[in-house]
Structures are given as C-alpha cells and as structure tokens.
C-alpha cells in the first residue's frame, strides 16, 4: 500500500517509474516521495516501500 496524491492505493509496481506507467501518469509531471523531490532521471531506480507518500504534480493555473 502506498499513498498516491493523498489517496491510499495498492499497486503492483515496485519502483517510481513503474508506478507512473501503471497509473497512466506518463505526461509532464514532477515527483516527490515522502516529501523529497525525485528527479525524472532517478525514478527508475527509486524503489517504493509500504506506506510511501508519493506526490505526482503537473502544470496548473497559478497567480
């Protein structure tokens, strides 16, 4: 079980890159795990653990 953008979910993926593919979040996004930024280049090797808090952010309107 991980927490993806605030929602608990069961995932098959074992690393961050796999999670994005599994959840169809393959567009222009930035990622953080447990409040630490994970660059795109490091996603493939970033293993996920039970209870990890994953944030996947995308471009949005802002002032």
């Amino acid at each position: 079980m991980i927490i993806l953008n605030g929602e608990r979910c069961e995932v098959a993926a074992t690393d961050l890159a796999g999670l994005l593919i599994e959840r169809d979040l393959t567009g222009r996004v930035a990622t953080a795990v447990n409040e630490v930024f994970v660059p795109a280049t490091a996603r493939a090797g970033h293993a996920l653990s039970d209870g990890d808090r994953v944030e996947v952010l995308a471009p949005m309107q802002g002032g």
Partner: protein, 256 residues
Amino acid sequence: MRAFYGTTLTTPLMLGTAQYPSPAILQAAFRESGASVATVSLRREGAGGAGQSFWSMIRELGVEILPNTAGCHSVKEAITTAHMAREVFDTDWIKLEVIGHTDSLQPDVFALVEAAHVLSEDGFKVFPYTTEDLIVGEKLLAAGCDVLMPWGAPIGSGRGLANPYALRAMRAEFPDVPLVIDAGLGLPSHAAQAMELGYDAVLLNTAVARSGDPVAMARAMAQAVEAGQRAFDAGPIEPRDMAEPSTPVIGKAFLQ
C-alpha cells in the same frame, strides 16, 4: 528597462493564469494584455491528465513562464516545490512565495530569505514575493536575488497600493534592481500608479480573471501600464500646495 536575470521583457505586465471563466478566455486575455510573462503553478495530477492540456496551452502563449510556490508555508516545502517546478516547466525562474499569515497571505519574510538563499545557491533565479520592508529587500539581494517583488496589497484584495510612500522609498533604495509590484492590484489606475513610481513591471491575476469581462480588462491593464511607464519616463511634475496659474498673467486685458 532593467533586465530580469538577463532577460529584457517586451512589456511590463506579468499576468497570472488562474481563475478565468474558460481556457479560451484566458488565451484571449493574454493576447489583449500583451503580457510578457505568465505565472503558473503545480498541483496534483489526476487520472484525466488535466495538467497536460494546460501545459500545451501555456506553451502556445509564447511568453516567459514563471512558476510559483503558491500555498507553501515552510522553507522545506517551498524548496521542494521549486525543484519540481524547475523540472516540469524547464526553467530556473521561480516566483518564491512562503506564506506566513493565513488571512492576509503576508509572506513570512524570515523563511523567504532562507529559502531564497538555498535556491539561489542551487542555480535558481528567484523572484521573491516580499513586503515593502527595505531591510528584508537588502537581505534578499544578499541571499542571491536580483529581482524584488513587493506586494501592493494582500493577494486578491484588489485594494491597490496600500503603502505608496514605502514603495517609493523602495524604488529609491534599490535604483539598479528590477522591482515588480506583485499582488493586490484591482484597477488599471493601480497598475498605472505602480509604473508612475518607476517600477519595472506589475504582476496581477485576479483583477483581470475575475472581472466581468477579462479580455476587455486585460486590454485596459495593458494601456494602463504603458501610460504609467511613459509618464514616469517623461518626468512628472512635483505636487505643490498652492495654485499657480497655467495661463500667462502678463498681457491680460484690463477690463472692468
């Protein structure tokens, strides 16, 4: 015009992308405003991929992109958000907001200086959302900022320049630093006043996006910043207490 980290803006208007009635109105408002910079943010991506279509639309605007750290209340949160924004938007520009007070959205200037220092060291070009405090301004410059963005009034309040005296002092104190009035503007006259003080740009969002006709208001803002800038360049007269006739007195007919 003073350059922003080496970039000379084509117009002194920075416009936010939030709160428009529709994407089409946002695009039309940008065209009418002539804005040279668009502010944007990062939010959680949903299954529908809303962020991707927004990104395509922003790219089509053909303006500089300035991501913000809106809603961040701590140094750590702001720094993490800035790193994520740099990757997503492919720019090292960051509008640094570290909010200290819930009701006024006043920046926490102590946290702001700390975050600005860390981010500048890490290669970011920081646009700090700050107050009109001169000492904070000095510390932000020492932290590595080459731009200062004092508030006009609380974000979204539309009150205009709450403290023109202090903003004038800030312009005088930092003659070589690009200064932007960020937040609190509601009317074209507010934007013109900021430019008449010699500021390099204004940043606004709500005043346009939440007006009855955002496209028309965008045009009005464009005209206001141009008028204010021309007025400053032209050298306004000093106010005086006593009247002084503008029509020549000499040669007036003696009539009873």
